[in-house]
Amino acid sequence: MRQRRPSWQTVITTSTALVLAAATLTACGGAAPASKPSVNAAASFEGKGPINYVSSRDASGAAQKSIDEWNATHPDELVTFIELPDSADQQRQQLIQNAQIKSDTFGVLNLDVVWTSEFAANKWILPLPGDKLSVDKMIPATVGAATYRDTLYGAPYYTDGALFYYRTDLLAAAGVAAPPKTWDEMKSACKAVLALPEAAGMSCYAGQFDKNEGLTVNFTEAVASAGGTVVDAEGKPTVDTAEAKAGLSTLVDGFKDGLFPSDAITYQEEQGRRAFQDGKVVFLRNWPFLYSSLSATDGSSQVAGKFNVASIPGTSGQGVSTLGGRSLAVSPFTANKATALEFITFFTSQEQALKRLALSSRAPVYAALYEDPAVVAKRPFFPALLQSVNNAQPRPKVVQYGATTKAIQEEAYAALTGKKDTDTALADMQAKLTELAAK
């Protein structure tokens, strides 16, 4: 026993020391500081040939159909769909990894709108000529979301805005004529509805409050709907204002007063859908994606035919939605930039957007399509969605979006769970965001 103990100690100590010593010795000769290639503001798009389109899978098959159509007419410039994981975090990680090693594999990138600033500032995507893309026909907010410092970096692909789902049957039974437009109206509508015997055990409202991107969205909407902003136009954080406090307070009070079901603190988009679909809440803030599953008549939805959508409520009048969606961008590391630009022009054209609507329910970025009677007949929520998107605000457009959204989630969650009071949480959030903005 005694004898082998020291030998053991040496085993790992020496090995660790050796490895570390080797490491420090070679450190100086290690990889040189990475220098990024310089990209001209007016990038020239040269080179034709096959490219890859990098995106998570489109379950509807609509994206692949657009690609097939392109490939049929461009045999020398074939586009291959490279699939990324379903998780947005993993997508971003893969995109960044490949940008860092300057891989030419990733040609056209499908980016979440909140990544635009980060990718643009790091020169991982090229500035695009707006005149080539039909930006003037697109909903301005969607173009704004794909823009960094007045330069367009992404071709808007599809968009997303908040919808306010409400139970028509319960509102009618309680004698509430129209869906509430303000938070206070919603509260009084709830009072009436929850007094009904058929609403026993229900809660008033749910959104997305788990510590997750959904919380950033809901917080931003609450603040904007109260007339505030999270960061101003210059990128300065503004969550120490009375408006921001009013916004966060609506959510905090919602939990405190039992307006929200207590497990809503674990809700992401899906759990919220389920709560509404099972008749647990009267009102729900969510994206348009659940409209079709709520309307399902196969017995899975208890609310089919009993709900409708409107704009989310604000403090005084219509609330302000947060903008979601995706845009396409071109990697500076691909050899065939001309093809890439032509492809995204083709892919994001109004004609292709209309064709994709036959398969996919993703909201197009062309306002005209929301007014097309044939489209609206199939998707009755489009008028409400257009109103929501037209009025929408982007989430903070900052380069360090990851750290920003994390700081927002951290503090908002602390306030919602009662770990911090509203003032402290917002003061801390302001401090963190200020520090990030200064970097």
């Binding site: 085993v11 490895v19 998570s56 379903d86 990894q97 860092q100 090693i101 994206w287 599953s293």
Partner: protein, 296 residues
């Protein structure tokens, strides 16, 4: 002593009680109850996985113990043309199989050297080998990606196999070293006295005796590489080469906010069951057969 204790037993069972007869029924009941508990703990989450995989997407959140209505739509979707899941399973098999064989070969040689030969710095070498298991896996990815893309290994099997070895080899070396060390040296010596060469003594005496250790290491490393995700995800973007875990991560729900839970559970069942069957099949032949021989 009772006669029970002296009866030859059908299978080697360490730590197994063969108590006096009057105690037997009480004891075997409690033992079987314990076995049942273990069984339930191991299998009930898996049962839930199977049940969930057989639900329709619409009622995936049900908590009923049996799927109603019963549906195989998730399994159909898993093998749906665009996912190339069959190919992914084959790729996983190749990657995990080669990793396992390579790790075992290297591990057996290294373990033999460490446990049977005399040389300096033995402890240091063992230390260095395990030190490679101490670095967080997620920090290995970016440097390796840069390195592999420099040498053109992106979208190749070896780009997944070689990093997998960094888990498999330390386990193989350490486990097999422990194992060989615990085996008596005199059998080999006896074989060599009988005229066997060192190599023959190793192959005909030591290796069969170490079989349970080899086999266990094989199962553990095979499953570990079978389940590896982050390296496989980063090194491969060609669906022809991607492994099953990567394919699973690319499943999408009906929309971007809906997790394809049913499909993922179905795929989980599909990747788990062959492993279990394989283990079931192999262990009967290898472990029991060889240990029966080893007892002699």
């Amino acid at each position: 002593m009772t006669t029970t204790a002296l009866k030859p037993r059908t299978a080697p069972a360490a730590g197994t009680p063969v108590p006096a007869r009057r105690k037997r029924s009480w004891r075997s009941y409690s033992v079987y109850a314990g076995l049942a508990l273990i069984f339930i703990y191991c299998l009930s989450p898996f049962y839930w996985m199977i049940v969930s995989s057989l639900r329709r997407t619409a009622d995936i959140f049900d908590n009923s113990p049996l799927p109603a209505p019963f549906s195989v739509e998730n399994y159909v979707k898993v093998f749906d043309g665009s996912t190339m899941f069959g190919q992914a399973l084959l790729n996983s098999l190749i990657v995990a199989g080669v990793t396992t064989v390579a790790a075992l070969v290297m591990g057996i040689f290294a373990a033999y050297a460490i446990s049977r030969l005399n040389f300096r710095f033995k402890s240091v070498i063992l230390g260095v080998i395990i030190a490679t298991s101490m670095f967080p896996g997620i920090s290995v990815v970016v440097p390796l990606l840069r390195f592999f893309s420099d040498i053109g290994w992106i979208n190749t099997y070896q780009a997944m196999i070689v990093p997998n070895l960094s888990f498999a080899i330390p386990l193989a070396v350490w486990n097999l070293t422990t194992f060989m060390k615990s085996l008596p040296f005199d059998l080999e010596e006896a074989a060599m006295i009988d005229g066997c060469t060192k190599w023959q003594a190793f192959r005909k005496v030591l290796l069969p005796l170490a079989a349970p250790g080899v086999f266990t290491t094989a199962i553990l490393t095979f499953i570990h590489s079978w389940n590896e995700f982050i390296i496989a995800l980063s090194m491969v973007n060609d669906p022809q080469v991607q492994t099953a875990t990567v394919a699973i991560s690319k499943f999408t729900g009906a929309t971007e906010f809906q997790a394809p839970f049913g499909e993922q559970m179905a795929a989980g069942v599909i990747v788990t069951v062959p492993l279990v069957i394989m283990v079931l099949f192999f262990q009967r032949r290898i472990v029991e057969g060889l240990t029966a021989g080893a007892g002699k």
